[in-house]
């Protein structure tokens, strides 16, 4: 089952689009994969991104974009099948394995990814990274969360606000 191609008479060959990162690197990718992004999908449906034009993405650098596209290419076939109702358990397990590996990365990359997923509106990726970050936070105190994510040590003012937040909700550490 093929995704509907907007026809330039090129039946058979998948339609390609070009994406341009903030540092001017050009990525050529199948339209179906790029269309996992709600934002890009609109442009692509309008016929954009083809030929020599390319779609500029001023908020996404090339390192992040290549990572984002790695995700999109992997997930595009399942997405084209409408959430893959007929995907086999093996396919699903394979995607799950991919996802787990995919977010097993440095926090600064995670940050770029969650921002890119947010800006490009790639729902699955947004959810995947948010869950990964949530897992890193679970069971930690506010200070531990700050340290885990590399926040600078709180100023006395910030420390007071942190304590006030706990108190505001009536909570005391035991």
């Amino acid at each position: 089952m093929a995704a509907p191609e907007s026809g330039d008479g090129n039946n058979g060959a998948a339609r390609m689009v070009t994406l341009i990162s903030s540092d001017n690197t050009r990525f050529e990718v199948e339209a179906a994969a790029a269309s996992l992004s709600q934002t890009l999908q609109l442009t692509i449906l309008d016929g954009g991104g083809g030929g020599g034009d390319g779609i500029p993405l001023p908020n996404v650098d090339s390192a992040t974009l290549s990572k984002v596209l790695e995700y999109c290419i992997k997930h595009a076939p399942a997405a084209a099948n409408g959430g893959a109702p007929n995907a086999t358990a093996v396919d699903r397990a394979e995607l799950e394995r991919f996802d787990n590996e995919f977010v097993n990365i440095d926090q600064s990359v995670l940050y770029s990814l969650i921002m890119a997923a947010h800006n490009l509106e790639i729902e699955g990726l947004q959810s995947l990274v948010a869950k990964k970050v949530a897992d890193m936070i679970k069971g930690k105190s506010p200070m531990e969360i700050r340290r885990t994510l590399g926040f600078p040590d709180p100023t006395p003012e910030e420390q007071a606000e942190m304590n006030a937040h706990m108190l505001e909700y009536g909570w005391a550490y035991e």
Binding site: N104, I105, D106, Q107, S108, Y111, S112, I114, M115, H118, Q126, S127, A130, K131, V133, A134, D135, I137, K138, G139, K140, S141, P142, I145, R146, R147, L149, G150, F151, P152, E158, E161, M162, H165, M166, Y169, G170, W171, A172, Y173, E174
Partner: protein
């Protein structure tokens, strides 16, 4: 596993926009984690506002919360939750100095108009109850066996003492709507109870004066109707008339929807506790058998039934389904909860239950506040020992089921 601790101030995370932070927050189901998340920085605080937790929390009587449920490694104290009398869904129930009750949502801080004292159930309310009942008293003659109330004394335990009206207290509370609450009321530490209803803010309850005292084991709202289960495992439909006009609401009739077939066992050895749970499309009854008195070592047994209204039978079920549904049982109310993704496997067919003195008599203080029963392995695991602090027992605990929780909704 590449993992670097970015300790420098070059970390991008402090500038995470509030709406993206919100995406992360939504994936933290427990209260403790959401609270800590909100304390991290201003922007995260903004993101956490207005997002109550999704999972049930355990509240002990000194206000200690088991917020990181079910791990329970950390506990928090919420002083304003201390001294609660019970709970109902997302509400904590407090008994006031004047004998009345108040309901507080400890997450949103919303409060309900106060509930009246049971001791002041006025003559007017009793009259209203009677006035409602009169037409039904006549009609009752024509009904079949399934009308078990009001007024007829059937299968009441011999020798069970009726409570002194001056000691009446709320033992189970169901918030039916913003304008109606229903309760099982009874004497402190006694077995027998009656149904009572009132509007929050009203001056008095209408206690169902004409109905007999019953051993009411649990009460629940299911598909907009009120049901109770008694010691015979009869499922009783409790019919409440609540006119929009000035008349106070009243229980007007009690119909037997299912005739139970409780097994008989030696009450000196075994006790049965019963819980009703709205599991979305099904009304479930859980029979929990425990060792009585000094025989606590007797293996605990759980049997789950679903109500079959057509055939008026309880039908035993061996599983709660494939999608990770767990039951949370407590004497102040129980719930079926669909496990969050990450707990789906381990929560499937699990029954989390409080040892909260739910039995009506012969109960020795338990050693564990929270345990879980695995329906598949038919095994009980103890999770949280009963705690004491400054020499005072924190037992019993009750559940708080957050308003927008992961309850199993009707399909």
């Amino acid at each position: 596993m590449p993992r670097k601790k970015a300790r420098s101030s070059s970390s991008p995370w402090p500038s995470l926009p509030s709406d993206v932070a919100g995406e992360v927050l939504l994936r933290l189901p427990s209260y403790a984690d959401r609270l800590c998340f909100g304390a991290v920085c201003r922007s995260w605080r903004a993101a956490s506002a207005g997002h109550p937790p999704r999972l049930p929390s355990i509240v002990f009587i000194d206000g200690t919360f088991g917020g990181g449920f079910p791990e329970g490694e950390r506990s928090f104290r919420l002083p304003r939750a201390a001294g609660h009398h019970g709970s109902s869904g997302a509400w904590l129930l407090f008994r006031r100095h004047d004998g009345g009750y108040s309901l507080l949502d400890p997450f949103s801080m919303a409060a309900m108009p106060p509930l009246p004292s049971l001791l002041s159930s006025s003559a007017a309310a009793a009259a209203a109850c009677d006035a409602h009942n009169k037409p039904f008293a006549r009609e009752r003659e024509r009904e079949e066996y399934d009308v078990v109330g009001l007024g007829r004394r059937d299968r009441l335990e011999v020798g069970a003492a009726e409570p002194d009206p001056r000691t009446l207290t709320v033992r189970r509370l169901v918030v039916c709507s913003a304008g109606l609450v229903a309760a099982v009321v009874g004497g402190e530490g006694q077995r027998l109870g009656k149904f009572a209803v009132c509007r929050p803010g009203a001056a008095s309850w209408s206690v169902c004066g004409q109905d007999q005292w019953r051993r009411i084991k649990d009460m629940v709202m299911y598909q907009g109707k009120l049901y109770a289960v008694d010691h015979n495992e009869d499922l009783l439909a409790v019919i409440v008339v609540d006119d929009d006009g000035g008349a106070p609401p009243a229980v007007t009739r009690i119909r037997r929807a299912i005739r139970g077939a409780a097994p008989s066992f030696d009450p000196r050895r075994r006790l049965a506790l019963h819980y009703l749970v709205d599991a979305g499309g099904e009304l479930l009854m859980v029979r929990r058998e425990v060792g009585s008195g000094r025989l606590q070592a007797v293996e605990e047994r759980f049997t789950v039934f679903k109500a079959e209204f057509e055939s008026k039978r309880w039908v035993e079920v061996s599983t709660l389904g494939d999608d990770g549904v767990a039951l949370f049982l407590g004497k102040w109310g129980s719930r079926a909860v669909r496990a969050p993704e990450e707990h789906r496997k381990e929560w499937a067919d699990r029954i989390f239950f409080l040892d909260d003195g739910a039995s009506d008599g012969f109960w020795s203080p338990p050693l564990y506040a929270l345990s879980t029963y695995d329906m598949r392995r038919q095994t009980t695991y103890r999770l949280l020992p009963v705690m004491s602090r400054h020499g005072a027992d924190l037992f019993p605990a009750t559940w708080i089921f957050p308003q927008q929780g992961t309850r199993v909704d009707a399909r």
